[in-house]
Amino acid sequence: MKPLSVFVCLTTLLLGSCAPAPSVSAITPPYVDTGIDPNSWVTIPAGSFPYGQHDHMTDVDYDYEIMVTDVTVEQYANFLNEALATGVISVGEYDVEEGETIRQEEGVGGFHPGDPFDGYKHEEEIQAGQYLYMPFTDGLRLSYEGGVFTALPSYVNHPMTLMTWFGANAYCEFQGGRLPTEIEWEKAARGTEIINGHGLPFPWGEEIHGNNANYYSSFDLFEKMFGKLGNTTPVGFYNGQTYLIGDSSYTTLDSASPYGLYDMGGNVWQWMGDDYPDQHYRYMRGGSFYSYEVDLRVWKNNSAAPTYYSPSVGFRCVQDGD
């Protein structure tokens, strides 16, 4: 047999064996009640903690409160309805700047007062103006009919996704809070404990297993249902419960952070509030259901322009303590 024939046969076999995989926007997961209240908050007390991969002891000299879970689709829908009623946001066409190109997208948007601009290499200016908060795009987990936003029933307790940094920031500010800084987020995620010279690499401990968090190829419930990519899991899903859905069951490990926060590793990246000098990027923490497990380590971050939105990016808010 000639090598070329073998190559052709193998290629045909391979291409033939590739089964189509469903896209995230085409998935409708069953509703799963995790028993975790997304309206709950915890206080992170002042004090130092090991920050970053190299465990630099860093002091946070104030108490602050942080949400126990990511903001859910239902919470965001409520915000949109309230904000629409008060005129803080509006529905329409928004300019979305991507590098040197500007495109128009329909969705929800509002005002942002702009950011300091240093004119540094690769930095893009974020001027005061109207910005897209959430596009009306495929995969959106809420509907907009008759001037009312409604969370899709199967996604009510999933993390809100597909909102830009502006959309996440607007939610937190509307609630009287703000997005966490990277330092605040990491302290809430890993706590203050040091074991063998290192702070915790994951919110729940030193090792990661598929039942700890929702990440790429973690074989979670939705990966089993919808294929390798899976989907987001409801907030607080990894709390030690065994879920019975249809004929199958799935047991999770209790993966709360030392302060009792859920989903601080995996599920969705979370927008941070920092606006660093000389750059326009906004940072994200935590990794997502698209991420390999290494990106779930608490010090890993991701970044994108504040106009970026994705089915794997969500957020949670903080409030300054009393």
């Binding site: 090598p3 190559f7 193998l10 290629t11 391979l14 291409l15 064996s17 590739c18 089964a19 189509p20 995989a21 469903p22 896209s23 995230v24 926007s25 991969q53 190299h54 465990d55 991507e98 590098g99 040197e100 190109t101 540094y120 290499k121 690769h122 930095e123 893009e124 495929d138 995969g139 063998n196 290192h198 690499p201 994951f202 030193e206 190829s217 294929g227 390798k228 990519l229 660093y276 000098p277 000389d278 750059q279 990027y281 994200m284 698209y290 991420s291 497990e293 290494v294 990106d295 380590r297 971050n301 991701n302 970044s303 994108a304 322009a305 970026y308 994705s310 089915p311 794997s312």
Partner: protein
């Protein structure tokens, strides 16, 4: 006892044996450590490896472990290139023996103790031995530079030589090798000085994680410059090696060698000046143009040569006869082809990224840009490895159908994997995150199958050579005898030359 001694002589005193050992070491490391990432994790193989070997995988030390792994593999690849050079470039037998012995002890020490330190707990004796091993590799580089000194009388070329040379007869190919070795020593020093700050102000990082940080420290820039130039110089060395293998000469050689020399100097200066100069990238681009043009001339020469040799018996060969001649020997066609293919999967992607950085790649999340970057240089490193395999297989005397099967399998399957990896790394150009899974599944499968078949081809080849070692009169014994013969002849020539010099001195002093 003689049984072991003969085989030891073959494995550690002949070029073929030394290369075989080094490739076996890389293959072993790749086979074991390859189970710690990618689909092996998903299939649960990583956990088996970790438990079986008792690996100590502290999460915070992952980046450091990867850096140790890269260094140990790099030391071995450099050793292989050095074996090729000491074998193919004229030098004294004692120089060849000393250089090969030093680098062999060096890379093996660095590899064994580097991996022990990285993956089996932080015993600092291991780290010290890892550094010692690298120092020996460095020292062998100094010895190599001395042996290559192109201005030695005995290495000057005749005026009518078809190889590039100066008016005074300095062999420009030898000079290109020499410049590459000096540049490598300088660049290694750069990395060593920076690395010496480890634990004393410098913290381990992977270059691709820092790409968007607007302000990088001098240490960080030095390491980024170091890693880029080292891989580039490994590629330059290999281009020179395959040029020598293919007997690159004539007009194109005379143009290519000065370009390679100048390009190597400029690109090295550019990569190292990243620490101080904001416009260092411009220097790198200029140097790259010189080096890549020299490589292009080699490709033109080698393909033209294959066609001419393959159609020598035909008076007026047609297009298909020429193509047949070009593709007749995959091992000799492969190096040039992989260099051309590199333009689609590495250089082309790199240029596209540079041109569209702010417009496309910096609009993507950092993780996407990171995948493109890591894909880009992993492919380059793997392409280099395949070219080494072509030369290695030829050196080991692979013939007939086995030669064709091995050659084509490596070319087709590696290119399938690299093309898939390139598309994977650039997938955001064609598909949104939420719609990507079908494409990702297909590409991952093609990558895995492509790489697996290349590794299987290599494993069969290595298995054959291992089996051969157990045979009393295997190929190894003939290869050892041939190498001993060549060595004896070259030593006799050296002695005769030395005798002439001594007699001349005697005559001069007795007058």
């Amino acid at each position: 006892m003689q049984l072991i001694k003969d085989r030891f002589d073959y494995l550690f005193r002949s070029t073929k044996g030394l290369t075989l050992v080094a490739i076996a070491m890389v293959a072993l490391v790749t086979a074991i450590w390859g189970t710690l990432s990618g689909p092996m994790v998903e299939w649960g193989v990583r956990d088996i490896t970790v438990n079986l070997l008792g690996l100590d995988l502290v999460q915070a030390e992952r980046e450091g472990r990867i850096i140790m792994l890269y260094h140990t593999i790099a030391m071995t690849i450099i050793a292989i290139e050095v074996y090729f050079m000491t074998d193919m470039l004229p030098m004294k037998r004692h120089e060849q023996v000393t250089i090969n012995a030093t680098i062999t002890v060096g890379y093996l020490t660095a590899l064994i103790f580097g991996m022990l330190f990285g993956y089996f707990g932080h015993n600092f004796v291991f780290h010290g031995l890892f550094i010692l091993g690298q120092s020996l590799v460095f020292f062998s580089g100094i010895l190599l530079a001395a042996a290559l000194w192109p201005w030695k009388k005995e290495y000057l070329l005749e005026a009518d030589s078809p190889y590039a040379h100066t008016k005074k007869g300095v062999d420009l190919e030898r000079l290109a090798f020499f410049v590459m070795v000096i540049a490598t020593l300088l660049s290694a020093t750069f990395g060593a000085v920076t690395g010496s700050y480890w634990g004393n102000g410098h913290e381990t990082f992977l270059g691709e994680d820092l790409i968007r940080a607007p302000h990088k420290t001098a240490l960080q820039k030095a390491i980024i410059g170091h890693l880029h130039i080292m891989l580039t110089l490994v590629a330059v060395a290999l281009t020179l090696i395959v040029g020598r293998w293919m007997k690159f000469k004539g007009l194109l050689h005379r143009i290519a060698m000065p370009l390679m020399i100048v390009g190597t100097i400029i690109i090295t200066a550019g990569a190292l000046s990243v620490v101080w100069l904001p416009w260092a990238h411009t220097t790198i681009y200029v140097g790259s143009v010189f080096v890549m043009f020299a490589a292009l001339l080699f490709v033109i020469f080698s393909w033209d040569k294959l066609i001419k040799e393959g159609t020598a018996h035909i008076e007026k060969p047609g297009f298909f006869q020429k193509m047949g001649a070009l593709l007749r020997d995959p091992l000799k066609f492969g190096p040039g082809w992989q260099m051309v293919f590199m333009n689609f999967t590495v250089s082309g992607v790199g240029i596209f990224m540079a041109v569209k950085l702010d417009e496309i790649f910096r609009v993507w999340p950092h993780r996407e840009e990171r995948i493109t970057l890591t894909g880009h240089w992993h492919i380059l490193a793997s392409l280099i490895a395949t070219i080494i395999l072509f030369y290695f297989a030829d050196l080991m005397g692979l013939k007939g159908k086995a030669r064709k099967w091995f050659g084509w399998l490596v070319i087709i399957m590696s290119d399938l994997a690299f093309a898939s990896a390139t598309i994977f790394s650039m997938k955001r150009l064609f598909v949104a995150e939420s719609e990507q899974q079908a494409l990702v599944n297909t590409l991952m499968l093609l990558m895995d199958v492509g790489l697996a078949l290349v590794l299987i081809a290599l494993a069969i080849f290595m298995g054959w050579r291992l089996y051969d070692l157990f045979r009393k009169d295997g190929r190894w014994s003939k290869e050892l005898a041939a190498e001993k013969k060549t060595s004896a002849q070259s030593q006799i020539e050296e002695q005769q030359q030395r005798l002439k010099e001594l007699q001349a001195t005697l005559e001069e002093t007795s007058q």
